[in-house]
């Protein structure tokens, strides 16, 4: 059996990639994908721990998170669509209206 630490390590790596992608990339779709990546990294960690302690609750939670993520993608993509329509751009830096 693969030790739980491997999963956690993988999860950590995925999460870090997500964070870096979120911070560095400008393309709003990529940013959005990075967010999803972080979410899935967290899912991975949860399910790994759940399996390790033999709890079903963790696995159920992951299902819940996946459904919510699906819904979120729906909303998120819709927002991106609107953003593109308004700004004719997919660059996040163009959405800087909320500043001083």
């Amino acid at each position: 059996m693969v030790p739980v630490s491997y999963y956690i390590l993988l999860s950590g790596v995925l999460f870090s990639i997500g964070v870096l992608g979120f911070l560095i990339r400008r393309n709003v779709i990529v940013v959005f994908m990075s967010v999803e990546l972080m979410l899935n990294a967290a899912n991975l960690a949860i399910i790994a721990f759940a399996r390790n302690i033999g709890s079903l609750t963790g696995q159920v939670i992951v299902f819940l998170v996946m459904t919510v993520a699906a819904a979120e993608v729906g909303v998120g993509l819709a927002i991106i669509m609107m953003f593109y329509r308004n700004k004719k751009s997919v660059n996040v830096d163009d959405g800087n209206l909320m500043k001083w």
Partner: protein
């Protein structure tokens, strides 16, 4: 009837309400019937009441009637209630009687005016207020009347409100009066906290036991009340409003600024004579202010050219006499002069009104002259009044003025007496100057007006004639003992003022001498007036040029108005602007806005963090997570 004394003020009040609310729809005839009728009825009731009072034995001539409770607060209890005694009885007759005549006169005088109904409603309101003042049985109700007559005076002076000078004069009158009332109100409060009540009977009965004669408390009370009298009766230093008050219609000047309202101060002091007699210092001050005012304003009156202003200054001067009378303790004489003055001064004003009526509103005496034959009724009635005010024997003014002078003399106030006598001469001078300039000599009337000079209608001349009769005969109720009379007037009032044992240092002979001196001075005044304005009409002009400076000072009324403006009014307005612009806007609002500004400034620094870039916020989040983690790991 005496029990229904409340009807006397109620009727004019009703007249005021009816004319005030419906006046525009009633038509001038009905308005004048209501206006005059209500006052006439109150006069009839007053006469009836007065005779009922007379029929009582002297010591029972005091009657109180509580109408309804007014203000009760704890042990402070004041009613709307009336007091009738010989003093208020006399005042009642003067107010309603003279008031009625002036109402009738006004029907003719004001007939062409647009504000006819407004005028009559205000006049009725005035009579109501004056009656409240006179009939009150406590100080607070007196104060109500006191301020209410001030209001009516304000309304009537500013009757022709479209003239700036009229509305200025009205405002000035009210404010100057309020300055006096300020003292009066404080006096009333001091009385309340001293005696625990404001009823006359309560206060006057307790006064000798509670107050120390000549003590600080009674002096303070009397001085404060006197301040009110100074304002209302236009004495130095608050006399400045009365000459300006001549902006009002002439009947108003006759009624309010000659016969009734301005004498309220004298009435009040007579009413409170018990307090004043306990305060010799105040009495002294009253006498001095009265005498100084009398001579000071008489000097101004000698050079004025506006017929009504002459009469206004003369009124102030005569009021000074009354104060002098009160000041030397001769309250009955003060009231006596008040009454005769009401007759002849009202007559003079109405006569002046009649002259103005004839000359299409001309006020300047330099543009009159030679009217004697053209308006004979006016001339003869005014002549009677001039004789009365100048103190010519057998006319009413002689008896009352002489009474005051004699009392001053017999009290040993020789200086005050001397001022009074000189002032009598000046009075005779300026009154005859008025008479000569107006009715004698060559006509200096503008050509345009000359053709339609006419005598006033009957409705105006009949009141003049009645007042003329009163001016001549009014003095006979108080012929002094030395002249073979019984001094009935003083005797009648004695139940109010007490029968004072005048210490007789002087024989009847001295009294004759004193009398003859004042007659002589008056005749001298007349002589000078005759010389200046009849026999040598060019003399005044050359004198004025020769003594230019004193003449200018007199003509400009000693520059007192200008002085008040410079010293009081303007600095006050400047100070108010300073308070508003500096304290309010700069300091208080500045502090508040400054605080808001500071918050704003801090916010301005903080908001730089908000770049609007999503990743900056995300970086912040990441850094935050790292910090939290670091804290837990390193702990």
């Amino acid at each position: 009837m005496i029990d229904n004394i409340w009807l006397v003020p109620l009727l004019p009040l009703l007249g005021f309400l009816i004319n005030g609310i419906f006046g525009r729809k009633l038509g001038k005839n009905l308005v004048s019937w209501i206006g005059c009728g209500s006052v006439g009825l109150s006069f009839l009731i007053s006469v009836k009441v007065f005779f009922e009072l007379l029929s009582l034995p002297a010591e029972q001539r005091i009657f109180e009637k509580i109408v309804f409770p007014w203000i009760y607060s704890g042990f402070f209890k004041v009613n709307i209630s009336f007091l009738l005694d010989p003093l208020s009885g006399v005042m009642l007759l003067v107010v309603t009687g003279v008031g009625f005549l002036i109402h009738v006169y006004s029907v003719g005088y004001m007939y062409e005016d647009n504000g006819f109904s407004r005028f009559f409603s205000f006049l009725n309101l005035f009579i109501f207020s004056m009656l409240m003042l006179v009939l009150a049985n406590n100080f607070l109700l007196l104060y109500l009347g006191w301020e209410a007559v001030g209001l009516c005076s304000y309304l009537l002076i500013g009757f022709w409100y479209e003239k700036k000078s009229a509305s200025d004069a009205a405002k000035k009158a009210f404010i100057v009066n309020r300055i006096g009332d300020f003292g009066f109100a404080l006096g009333v409060m001091l009385i309340f906290w001293t005696f625990g009540g404001l009823n006359y009977t309560e206060v006057f009965q307790q006064a000798p036991s509670i107050l120390v004669a000549g003590g600080g408390l009674v002096t303070a009370i009397t001085l404060l009340l006197f301040m009110g009298a100074v304002g209302k009766s236009a004495q130095i230093p608050l006399y400045v409003w009365l000459p300006d008050a001549m902006e009002g219609p002439t009947p108003v000047s006759a009624l309010i600024h000659a016969a009734t309202m301005v004498t309220a101060g004298v009435y009040m002091m007579a009413r409170c004579h018990i307090l004043y007699e306990l305060a010799p210092f105040t009495l002294g001050l009253v006498a001095v202010i009265g005498a100084v005012t009398a001579i000071y304003t008489a000097s101004i009156a000698m050079v004025q050219n506006d017929i009504k202003r002459v009469l206004a200054y003369s009124t102030i001067s005569q009021l000074g006499y009354m104060f002098l009378g009160c000041g030397v303790g001769a309250f009955a004489a003060g009231i006596f002069h008040l009454m005769t003055h009401a007759f002849f001064k009202a007559l003079l004003f109405l006569g002046a009104g009649s002259v103005m009526h004839a000359l299409s509103g001309e006020l300047n005496m330099q543009k009159m002259g030679g009217l004697k034959g053209k308006i004979p009724v006016t001339f003869w009635t005014v002549f009677a009044a001039v004789l009365a005010i100048s103190g010519i024997p057998l006319f009413s003014g002689f008896f009352s003025k002489d009474e005051i002078l004699w009392k001053a003399f017999s009290q040993g106030n020789l200086l005050l007496w001397l001022i009074g006598v000189i002032c009598a001469g000046m009075t005779a001078f300026y009154m005859f100057r008025l008479l000569f300039l107006t009715f004698f000599g060559k006509s200096r009337v503008d050509e345009s007006i000359k053709s339609h000079i006419h005598e006033s209608p009957k409705i105006m001349t009949v009141p003049l004639m009645i007042l003329a009769i009163l001016s001549v005969l009014g003095g006979y109720v108080g012929i002094p003992k030395s002249l073979g009379g019984g001094n009935n007037f003083e005797h009648f009032l004695s139940s109010v003022f007490g029968e004072k044992e005048m210490i007789i240092h002087h024989s009847a002979f001295t009294e004759y001498i004193v009398m003859i001196i004042s007659i002589g001075v008056a005749l001298a005044g007349i002589f000078f007036a005759y010389r200046f304005y009849i026999s040598k009409p060019e003399l005044p002009k050359s004198l004025a040029e020769k003594y230019n400076f004193p003449y200018r000072v007199l003509l400009n009324k000693y520059y007192v108005d200008e002085f008040y403006f410079k010293i009081i009014v303007n600095p006050l307005l400047k100070f108010a602007t300073f308070l508003w612009q500096f304290i309010d806007i700069r300091i208080i609002d500045g502090t508040a806005n400054g605080l808001a500004g500071m918050v704003n400034w801090f916010g301005g620094i903080g908001r730089k963090i908000q770049t609007g870039y999503v990743r900056n916020y995300a970086l912040g989040m990441v850094l935050g997570v790292i910090l939290v983690l670091a804290y837990f790991i390193l702990k």
